[in-house]
C-alpha cells in the first residue's frame, strides 16, 4: 500500500524528520484559509498516491490566500492519472539551497535493505540513475551489524553534504531506516530532501510504500490509513474497489470486450498474450492466485460481468492447489443465478478451460449446469475470440 504524501509526512514527523508547515484542505476556501495561516507563499499538492504529479498538473504555487483558493479550485475534483483528487496538501514554499534524494528500499537481489542518496534530488530516481549515474550513492545494510552510524556519515559525505550539516543528514538516514523496519515498508523516500537557504534539512516530499504481506502486524496503522479513503462511486473505479474488497489478487481493466480469469499468474499472462496474438481485445484481466475458493471465482465473474463492455469471459483454470471441483461450484453458481434472472440467457458468454487437480469432478459439476470445458487452452482462446466478434 502506498501512503498519501500527507500521511507519509505525518509519519516522518513522528520519527523526527522535519517537514514543511502545512495542512490538508478539502475545498478551495479551506486552502485559502490555510495559506492565510501560513502567511507566506505556499505550494498546493494534489493528494493522490501516484507518481508524476507535478508533470500532470497536480502541484501549483500561490503567493497569497486568494491565489491559493484559485489554484486549489483548479486541482480539486480533477482526475490525475486516473485518480480522483479529493483533497490537497497546502504547505509553505521552501527557499531551496540544494535538493537531495534520499531513500531506503529493499534490494531483492542482494537480499538486504539499501540506502540510496544523491545530490541530484528533485527528479525521479530512475532519471537520476540514467542521467547522473556517478551521482548515486548506495549503501547496503547487512546483518548482523545493521545500519551503523559511520555508514550514515559516509552516505552524507559522499552525497556532497559538508560540515555540521553532515550530522543532520546522517540522522535523517537513520530515521528513514527506523521507519522501514518499524512499519515493514518496502520504500521510504524523500525527494527532494531540501537544504534550505537558512541551513535546515526539510522533507519537501514524502513517499512510503508498505509491504502488505506484513499488514497483520500493523492492523491499527492500516485502519487509520484507510479511514480517509472514499469509495469511488461508479464504473471502473467501483469495480476495482469491489475486486479489492473481495480480495481478488489481481484485477486490471484495459480496453476491449473480452474478460480473462486465470488461477495462475503465468498462465494468466500467457492467456493474455495469446488472446491478443489471436486478435482478441482484452477489457478485464483477473488472476485468482493459488488460494481460490468457489466464492472468489464467483465474485470475480460478477464483477467482470457487471462491466457492460464485456461480451465474453474466458476462464483458464489449471489447478495445482486450486481444486477444480471447487472452481466448478463457483462458476455454476454464477451461471445458474445469471440465467435465472435473464430468462435462461447467459450474457456475457462464458468459455471455460479446465485442467488439473480433480478436473473430472469439476467437469461433471460444470456439465450439470450445461457448461462444457475445453481441455486445450488454444481451443478455448480461439472460441472466446470468435464469440467476441473475431479478430
Amino acid at each position: 500500500m502506498r501512503l498519501h504524501e500527507f500521511q507519509a509526512k505525518e509519519m516522518f514527523a513522528e520519527y523526527g524528520i522535519t517537514t514543511p508547515r502545512g495542512k490538508v484542505a478539502h475545498s478551495p476556501e479551506e486552502a485559502g484559509r490555510i495559506a492565510a495561516e501560513i502567511g507566506a507563499p505556499v505550494a498546493l499538492k494534489a493528494q493522490v498516491p501516484v507518481g508524476g504529479r507535478g508533470l500532470a498538473g497536480g502541484i501549483k504555487f500561490a503567493d497569497d490566500s486568494d491565489e491559493a483558493e484559485e489554484a486549489a479550485s483548479l486541482i480539486l475534483g480533477e482526475s490525475l492519472r486516473n485518480e480522483d483528487v479529493n483533497f490537497l496538501l497546502v504547505e509553505e514554499k521552501l527557499d531551496i539551497e540544494t535538493e537531495y534524494y534520499l531513500g531506503v528500499t529493499i534490494d531483492y537481489r542482494r537480499k538486504c535493505p539499501v540506502v540510496i542518496a544523491s545530490s541530484r534530488g528533485g527528479m525521479d530516481i530512475e532519471r537520476i540513475a540514467s542521467e547522473f549515474p556517478d551521482h548515486i550513492i548506495k549503501e547496503e545494510i547487512r546483518p548482523p551489524l545493521g545500519l551503523t552510524d559511520f555508514q550514515t556519515r559516509r552516505i552524507a559525505k559522499k552525497a556532497g553534504v559538508v560540515g555540521r550539516n553532515q550530522r543532520h543528514f546522517a540522522a535523517t538516514v537513520k530515521n528513514l531506516y527506523s521507519i522501514l523496519r518499524s512499519v515493514d515498508a518496502t520504500l521510504v523516500e524523500i525527494n527532494p530532501l531540501v537544504l534550505t537557504t537558512d541551513n535546515q534539512f526539510i522533507a519537501a516530499d514524502a513517499k512510503i510504500t508498505l509491504d502488505d504481506n506484513a499488514s497483520f502486524r500493523h492492523r491499527e496503522l492500516y485502519s487509520r490509513l484507510k479511514s480517509i479513503e472514499k469509495r469511488p462511486s461508479e464504473g471502473k473505479n467501483l469495480r476495482k474497489a469491489l475486486a479489492e474488497e473481495a480480495e481478488i489478487p489481481t484485477y486490471i481493466e484495459l480496453s476491449g470486450n473480452l474478460g480473462i480469469i486465470s488461477d495462475g499468474a503465468g498462465t494468466g499472462m500467457s492467456t493474455f498474450d495469446l488472446t491478443k496474438d489471436f486478435g482478441g481485445k482484452v477489457e478485464a484481466y483477473c488472476e485468482l492466485g493459488g488460494k481460490a475458493t468457489p466464492d472468489l471465482i464467483e465474485k470475480a465473474l460478477e464483477i467482470i460481468a457487471s462491466n457492460q463492455e464485456v461480451a465474453v469471459i474466458l476462464i483458464n483454470l489449471i489447478g495445482g492447489l486450486n481444486r477444480m471441483d471447487e472452481m466448478a461450484q463457483g462458476i455454476t453458481s454464477f451461471v445458474d443465478k445469471r440465467k435465472e434472472t435473464r430468462d435462461g440467457e447467459l450474457k456475457p458468454a462464458i468459455v471455460v478451460r479446465m485442467s488439473g487437480t480433480l478436473e473430472d469432478e469439476g467437469r461433471e459439476i460444470l456439465g450439470n449446469s450445461g457448461v462444457t470445458a475445453f481441455d486445450n487452452i488454444y481451443d478455448a482462446i480461439e472460441r472466446a475470440v470468435d464469440l467476441a466478434g473475431g479478430s
Binding site: 529493499i106 531483492y108 537481489r109 537480499k111 538486504c112 535493505p113 530512475e126 546483518p143 523496519r181 515493514d184 518496502t186 509491504d211 502488505d212 504481506n213 506484513a214 497483520f216 502486524r217 489478487p249 489481481t250 486490471i252 484495459l254 486465470s262 488461477d263 495462475g264 499468474a265 503465468g266 498462465t267 494468466g268 499472462m269 500467457s270 493474455f272 498474450d273 495469446l274 491478443k276 496474438d277 484481466y285 488472476e287 492466485g289 493459488g290 488460494k291 489449471i318 489447478g319 495445482g320 492447489l321 485442467s355 488439473g356 487437480t357 478436473e359 487452452i377 488454444y378
Partner: protein, 288 residues
C-alpha cells in the same frame, strides 16, 4: 537422475494437519513420495494418512530423518517455519506460502545461504520429478518421466507447458517452480546449472515473465556455461506498464522488466524463444 529430489528423498510436510496440507500429503503419498513425517505445533503424536506428526521439525528429523520439507504454513508464520527447518538441518525447504513479509523473508534467505540449504519460493508450487516423487502441489496427471528439465517462475505455467510436453510424448526429468518473487531463494540460474550437470536431462525449458532482471542473468549464464539446448517462453509480452500481473515480481516499471528485452537477451545467448506453451515441444524437437 533428476535434480534436487528423488525416490529416496525423505520428505517432511510442515502444516500437515491443515486442509491443504492433509489433502496434498495424501496426493504425494499416492504418487510415491517418501513422506516420512509431518509437523504441526501442538499436534505431535497424531497420524495423518499413516504419517506420524511431530510438534517440532527437529523431533521429526531426529526420529525419521528429513532431506526436504514442504511447507504449507500460512504467510504470517511461514518465515519462522522455514527457519525452524533450516536450523534443524533440512537441506531443501519448499515454501508454498504467498504473503510472507519481505523483511522476514530476507532474514530466512540469508540464513539459508549461511547454512548451505536450498530454499525454493516463496509462493511456489514446488518441484516434481515425474514418476519418482513430488515435493509440491502439481497436478501430476499432466506430467511424465523423461529428459526435459523445466524451470518456471509460475507454477501454473509449468503445468501448462509440461502438459504440452507430455501430450507430445516428451517427458520431464524435474519441473521446478521457483515462485512469483520479488525475492527468490533458488533462481533460474541455479536450476539451469543443475540441469546442465544432470545426466538424464537432455533439454532445458526456461519459463520466465516480465519484471526484474532474472531472465537476463539466466541468458548471460547460459551463454557461458550451458551446452544443452534451451527453449524459453516469456509471458507478459502484451502486459500493460505499471500493473502487477498476478505475481509480486511481475511488473513493468519505467520501461524496465519488459518481455522484449528478456527475449532479446535470451535469443542472443542462443536460447530458442517461443510464443506459447504449444510451441515448446515443437521447438525442442527441432533443436534436440
Amino acid at each position: 537422475m533428476c535434480i534436487l529430489a528423488d525416490r529416496d528423498t525423505r520428505v517432511i510436510i510442515q502444516g500437515i494437519t491443515g486442509t491443504v496440507g492433509s489433502f496434498q500429503a495424501k496426493v504425494m503419498l499416492d504418487y510415491g513420495t517418501n513422506v516420512v513425517a509431518g509437523v504441526t505445533p501442538g499436534k505431535g503424536g497424531q497420524e495423518i494418512h499413516g504419517i506420524p506428526v511431530y510438534d517440532l521439525v527437529e523431533d521429526a528429523v531426529r526420529d525419521r530423518g528429513g532431506d526436504a520439507t514442504l511447507i504449507f504454513v500460512p504467510g504470517p508464520f511461514a518465515a519462522d517455519a522455514t527457519l525452524e527447518a533450516i536450523e534443524a538441518g533440512v537441506g531443501l525447504a519448499v515454501l508454498t506460502a504467498e504473503g510472507v513479509p519481505l523483511l522476514d523473508m530476507m532474514t530466512v534467505m540469508n540464513r539459508a545461504a549461511e547454512k548451505g540449504a536450498w530454499l525454493i519460493g516463496p509462493d511456489t508450487a514446488g518441484l516434481i520429478s515425474p514418476g519418482r516423487c513430488k515435493v509440491g502441489v502439481h497436478p501430476h496427471r499432466l506430467f511424465m518421466e523423461g529428459g526435459i528439465g523445466v524451470v518456471s517462475k509460475s507454477g501454473a505455467l509449468s503445468y501448462e507447458v509440461s502438459k504440452a510436453l507430455t501430450d507430445a510424448g516428451m517427458g520431464q526429468s524435474t519441473v521446478i517452480g521457483i515462485g512469483g518473487g520479488p525475492m527468490w531463494g533458488l533462481t533460474q540460474v541455479d536450476a539451469i546449472g543443475m540441469f546442465e550437470k544432470d545426466d538424464e536431462t537432455e533439454g532445458i525449458v526456461l519459463l520466465g515473465e516480465i519484471g526484474g532482471t532474472m531472465e537476463e542473468e539466466a541468458a548471460e549464464y547460459i551463454e557461458k556455461n550451458v551446452s544443452k539446448p534451451v527453449v524459453s517462453l516469456i509471458v507478459g509480452r502484451h502486459a500493460p506498464e505499471g500493473e502487477r500481473m498476478g505475481h509480486a515480481g511481475a511488473i513493468i516499471q519505467h520501461g524496465r522488466g519488459l518481455a522484449a528485452g528478456k527475449i532479446e537477451a535470451l535469443r542472443s545467448a542462443g536460447v530458442h524463444v517461443v510464443d506459447g506453451p504449444r510451441d515448446v515441444p515443437i521447438m525442442l524437437k527441432e533443436v534436440m
